[in-house]
Symmetry: C2
Amino acid sequence: MPQNNAANNIAYQSGHDHNHCISSAMLEAQSVCKGNGQRLTKIRELVLQLIWQSHKPLGAYDLLPAIAEAGFNSAPPTVYRALDFLQEQGLVHRLASLNAFIGCSHPGEHHNGYFLICKDCGITVELASEEIQQSISRCATRQGFAVEQENVEILGCCTNCVAPA
Amino acid sequence: MPQNNAANNIAYQSGHDHNHCISSAMLEAQSVCKGNGQRLTKIRELVLQLIWQSHKPLGAYDLLPAIAEAGFNSAPPTVYRALDFLQEQGLVHRLASLNAFIGCSHPGEHHNGYFLICKDCGITVELASEEIQQSISRCATRQGFAVEQENVEILGCCTNCVAPA
DNA sequence: AATGTGAAGTTATAATATAACAAATTAATT
DNA sequence: AATTAATTTGTTATATTATAACTTCACATT
């Protein structure tokens, strides 16, 4: 019986082992922070865990109740600070079209995240497509434009919601 | 002396004739609305004109003072209603990463807008790249994902700001 | 003119995000 | 260990963006 992991088993596939996603994300976070000489404090760790509850993007304010329950201050700056930190470390992405946040599926790697957001179930998958990257790069270069940050959020219907089992 | 027009002379080129942009955008708007059986009222027309002041995305609240000066009610719903209408008609795009709005460069055509946003001067160019469209489409299809709406906002540095004259 | 529909006016408030400063914790230095 | 410096968190207040809900108005058709 093959072991599931994030690389070979994306969010909306049936055998998806989400516990593995969470634990590997938390481990990676430790290592990324250590590598960057940054501290993954309790609050930051908690916020990352909350974000990784699912593959559905969550709003900052959605996290506040759980932060309060864990005994921390739950005013907005608490969560925004943690989210800002996690974004700087490349552990979390913000989806501008949703005002929401999602765990990064391949932190550490230098990459652009392209997102497929299912409008029905909310599950969002991050791609790291060379093909998209290159087509954007070519179009930009043609205009003399130097790309610094790519924001690609594709809304639609995931395979499960297109053709429910 | 060749005549400038929106098609052959994009926003950050030196000979850019912006008056032409504005007048052609307003004419197109009339025709699009007529075609859709919709009314381009005074406020809607004004908001579209304000949006077309420049090729820099503007926030909804940036428009309110001018709306007030023109003698209209300038509470937020006024501008949001007009912007919603203009988006529905395909005359204006919202840039989620900026919470801002920009005139559509090729209304009428059925297209996806991909945006190059200069972080220095703010000038934003809309592309309708087949190449980007196809690479997104291929990646999505590979995941069984049915694309409905594409949100591609590329932040960087335009040709003028990369190498100022 | 009466009626119905869509648009605009108006008030209030929701949702998202940040500023600014104080207190506490951690790390580095003595 | 005590002192200092730096970072993190707590706290209050407020900015920014956007929408809900209801009223009034304009105008299009009957």
